[in-house]
Assembly symmetry: C2
Homo-oligomer: 634 residues x 2
């Protein structure tokens, strides 16, 4: 049923201006392959799984308890649990847009009815505050998450409105957003929320509705932050980015998801209000964060304590936090910056993060998830309980649900809307940013139809074949991203084969239907070494293959060997003989009484070995194991 | 007034049996030098500082509020704040024992009167629970800290009873301990406290009073732990060592202070009850913890999140926690194991921890402290506020007080009683474990007097001169510890000079008063390299000098250079020409767009430099700086 329910504009982000114009569901469709398979699992397992769990743990029931007057005593879950119900609804909305699945549509309508009943007369919506026996509304800006929850409600409503004629959720969200504007707008309270999220949500609602005051409210929330309005908590005000004004900050800091949602909202505000200074500030922060505070996987967040960015170059693989939601949020930010600027570096980071963070979180069956995405597992994980919530950052295998369970629904909404992140258009033509089997059919701004079919085995194979499916009788430009690791790539068209350097390659011509353009990316395995200031991985290399970060997992080593016994020879490039291996040794290691000794000790005994490597995203899918990405050199 | 008020037995730990017998204040006295100077600052500044702050932040006032019936509304501080008042009283008691200072004695009596008034009729004492408007007593075993606080009360009372004729505090503590035995003893509640501490306290009260039931209660608390009586919190039950029974555990784990206090209590129980299996279990846990979970400084605890031990070999210098209290607790544990077994390895670790953790925490003026003792400071610290509490783990300079302020009073009680950790006796003679200017005068178990005067500039100089001051006309053995780094040490006595290998060296003879025995320890600077499984410091060396860990501080580098620019040449040993330097270079480092690159990049530009090194314990005493202990090699 593809395309039958998706409406014009069925996309998460719809800027009024910017270098590139995003496409909508229906205009671009993933038809199979790596991501198609994950979308299928998301549709057939994850959505239902999330709904079952939120019924089981009472987070959906909280809305019923509110209606029935017993929420003060019966409420379950953390203060932000409403948001996960909204994120599930958003995921369902994109799924309905993607496939038109009537069963999902039906479940979505039921959930919306449950939510609707809990909305109060003045538009306020939230199950944690304001009812008899509860704390007053807006009484806990640091930790209450009230605006955060309403932000997710609004994003869900925008998704629904862009993928369906059903306006029930949009009506709820607009009444809630109107209430927010009354409380916090001109003449109202000067506050902000400890967790940014309302900012991008209100901009998108303004884009959908044309109502300028939602944009003004979002802009005001962005400007208010950084002026020490929130309390100085133990983690410091940087935790919620209330330390430095958004325009003055030089790098992302504090809680990673908070920082990234805020930055995404600031880009939205900058684009809609035409504010190049604000946009440039976020570009600079992105640059500094990517250069100094980002893991090889694209993961962000080095601290377990406060789920936050560390100082520059503090990127310990064994204590990486790399929250799945931070990966989702990073893709959201990079996508907005790509649309605004057209710079392919943003699509590069999005690709890295999608393949190595977002794809790592869900289990193959779509019913268990990583919340934290470590780069080094020293003890085999412990199987998570199937019948109760797991602590979010436990050193476990993927878990079905968490006591803080923001990640599963965030993965779900991302996968359900992923088609829209593949391609854009501008006045000159079509740009492909992410490679997957896909069909694209759209029009350039001047109305000319363009359509292509993309066929690829990427990321396993490096060949991407683009077949022209629709074209007008005039030249246009097809632009293909060449990842930063893609030195040696070639593009082949009717004029022959030529080199295509990292960045992007364009083919400008009068295309004919059926014509094929072929991009060949060098996806063979390669060694990567870290900036010497990243102390935690000094003396190590990683192996990458195309956009995939690889890892060594104990499952693939001889019996009883730990991944920490591995040493690789950096002078002998890794090979791919149907499976990737690196030449190296396995060392024998033993405890002394004290782990520090006079320098110059002899090397430990070692036996030569071909070290097997596998995609990081699939680690721990074969039972408990130890794992590492960064490998010490011999 | 030394010796006039100190009573026989004025020592923190007084086991009924064991390989070595501890000495008391009065029998052993530090007379100057490194530790003498710190004891003086503790006496003249820190004790008063702690009392002033606990008045200011209301923790002493809580006892008054309890008496006046307003504690439910007026109580300030965390649930465990009573314990810091008790630790201050303990520090004062040792100070009175050490010097007989009447002003301290007077302030102590006032504090005890304040505490006494808040004790309830049934013996219960605590300002957080049980009064109208408060939660019921014992209602929060995981976080309530009720037994923890009473444990510190008991330790303070033991200290007071061993250093004064004033029994007021002992009376209070015994009534509280009796109440604990009634509530948790035979036929009572089966609970334990989330924070161990009552265990060593009750054993010491049994040693003091001869009351067996305190020992039985302590033994019962030790045995109860590890059977999942406490709730499964987000950090898991290992956080409070309730995951595995004490006898079955193989390594220390979870919250470091909790783990170490529990282990100390278990040693006390094992010694008093004659339980070699329990003692052996703790020895094994100590061995594994020291071999795999201890920093070069002796610091313990790798996680900020839960103040806990990390997995084996997870020892990041830049995210080291190394809580000062964990250093104190580690010294407590090692001291108990030394007394029980005589193994000098325990004194080795205690020395390392005293010089590099306990001595690092307080500022030179004794009025500011580190709570967390990082091994690598990447950004210059921020000056702590002087007028309010600082978060405990902020990346600041030393702070006057913390919202959780367990460390300053823990340092205070340790310094005030430090004399007693220097030496022991056994049937054959006298053992010196720690080196400081000191006078020792005691009797061997058979009644023979032995006395020595120790003169040394240690740790700056390596010569320790022991002059015989008292001796009977019969041979005895003087045993001197030779630290594990002391290969090449020599001892010189009337028979000449001879090598003294690491461990200990003994001189057995009929000593004469005035005779001198001289130990020469090789305290020149040396490189130390880490176990290759400690990923976080791969490719680095540290410089040590005698028992001191050294560091590079930006204060000593050319203008504007960061410690992360330092590289040292491991083939050229560090030198001491009045100041320690290592040969190396300063490198130029610059950001790229992405911090990971194809392997084989050229080395950055570098200029040769003599890298200056200084004792870690004195870092950040000259203003904000960056600092590192582990230095990458060229």
């Amino acid at each position: 049923m593809t395309g039958t329910t998706a409406r014009a504009g069925a996309r998460p982000v719809a800027p009024a201006r910017g270098r590139l114009r995003p496409l909508a569901q229906g205009e671009v469709e993933i038809t199979g392959g790596f991501w198609g398979q994950r979308q299928e699992v998301n549709a057939t397992a994850t959505l239902e799984h999330c709904q079952e769990w939120m019924e089981r743990v009472g987070w959906i029931g909280n809305f019923r308890a509110a209606v029935e007057g017993r929420v003060a005593t019966d409420r379950r879950g953390r203060e932000f649990s409403d948001s996960d119900v909204y994120k599930l609804v958003e995921a369902m909305a994109w799924e309905v847009g993607r496939t038109g699945d009537p069963a999902v549509d039906e479940r979505l309508r039921d959930l919306v009815a449950t939510i609707a009943a809990a909305q109060e007369d003045d538009g306020y919506l939230g199950t944690k505050f304001g009812r008899p026996g509860q704390g007053p509304r807006w009484s806990d800006p640091e930790w209450g998450h009230e605006l955060y929850c309403i932000g997710h409600l609004v994003q869900a409503a925008v998704a629904r409105a862009r993928t369906s004629d059903d306006t029930a959720l949009l009506d709820i969200a607009r009444r809630a957003a109107d209430h927010v504007c009354e409380v916090f707008g001109p003449g109202g309270a000067p506050g902000i929320d400890g967790h940014p999220e309302i900012e991008p949500a209100l901009v998108e609602l303004a884009r959908l509705s044309g109502e300028q005051r939602y944009l003004e409210m979002a802009a005001e929330f962005v400007e208010r932050r950084g002026h020490q309005r929130l309390a100085d908590i133990e983690f410091g005000r940087a935790y919620f980015q209330d330390d430095v004004p958004v325009r003055e900050a030089t790098v992302l800091r504090g809680h990673a998801v908070r920082a990234l949602y805020l930055a995404a909202g600031a880009v939205d505000v900058a684009v809609e209000t035409g504010d190049p200074d604000l946009l440039a500030a976020i570009e600079r922060q992105w640059e500094a964060t990517v250069a100094r505070r980002t893991y090889l996987t694209g993961g962000m967040g080095s601290h377990h304590q406060d789920e936050s960015f560390g100082d520059d170059h503090v990127l310990p693989p064994d204590r990486a936090y790399c929250e799945t939601c931070a990966g989702v949020a990073s893709v959201m930010l990079s996508w907005r910056l790509l649309l605004a600027t057209g710079n392919p570096r943003y699509a590069d980071l999005a690709e890295r993060t999608l393949f190595n963070v977002v794809a790592t979180s869900p289990a193959p069956d779509g019913r268990a998830f990583y919340y934290v995405n470590t780069l080094h597992q020293r003890r085999p994980g412990v199987a998570a309980p199937l019948d109760r919530e797991t602590p979010r950052a436990g050193s476990s295998l993927r878990a079905p649900w968490f006591s803080v369970s923001c990640c599963p629904t965030n993965v779900a909404r991302t996968l359900a809307s992923l088609d829209t992140y593949l391609a854009t258009v501008d006045d000159d033509g079509l740009q492909l940013h992410q490679y997957a089997d896909a069909r694209i059919s759209t029009r350039l701004p001047d109305g000319r139809p363009v359509g292509v079919e993309v066929a690829t085995t990427y990321p396993d194979g490096g060949r991407v074949t683009v077949r022209i499916a629709e074209t007008a009788d005039a030249p246009w430009t097809l632009t293909l991203r060449v990842p930063s690791w893609g030195a040696g790539a070639t593009v082949t068209d009717g004029d022959g084969r030529r080199a295509a350097g990292p960045g992007s390659v364009s083919v400008h011509r009068r295309f004919a239907v059926g014509e094929e353009i072929q991009l060949d990316l060098p996806v063979g395995p390669r060694f990567t070494e870290p900036d010497p200031r990243i102390d935690a991985v000094r003396g190590c290399v990683a192996v990458e293959r195309g956009p995939l970060v690889l890892c060594v997992e104990s499952t693939d080593l001889p019996d009883g060997r730990h991944v920490d016994d591995v040493r690789v020879d950096p002078d002998r490039p890794p090979r791919d003989d149907g499976g990737v291996t690196a030449a190296g040794v396995l060392v024998e290691q033993a405890d002394g009484e004290w782990p520090y000794r006079p320098s110059g000790r002899p090397s430990p005994a070692a036996e030569p070995a071909a070290i097997p490597l596998a995609p990081y995203h699939s680690w721990a899918t074969r039972g408990p194991s130890t794992m590492r990405i960064w490998l010490p050199t011999v």
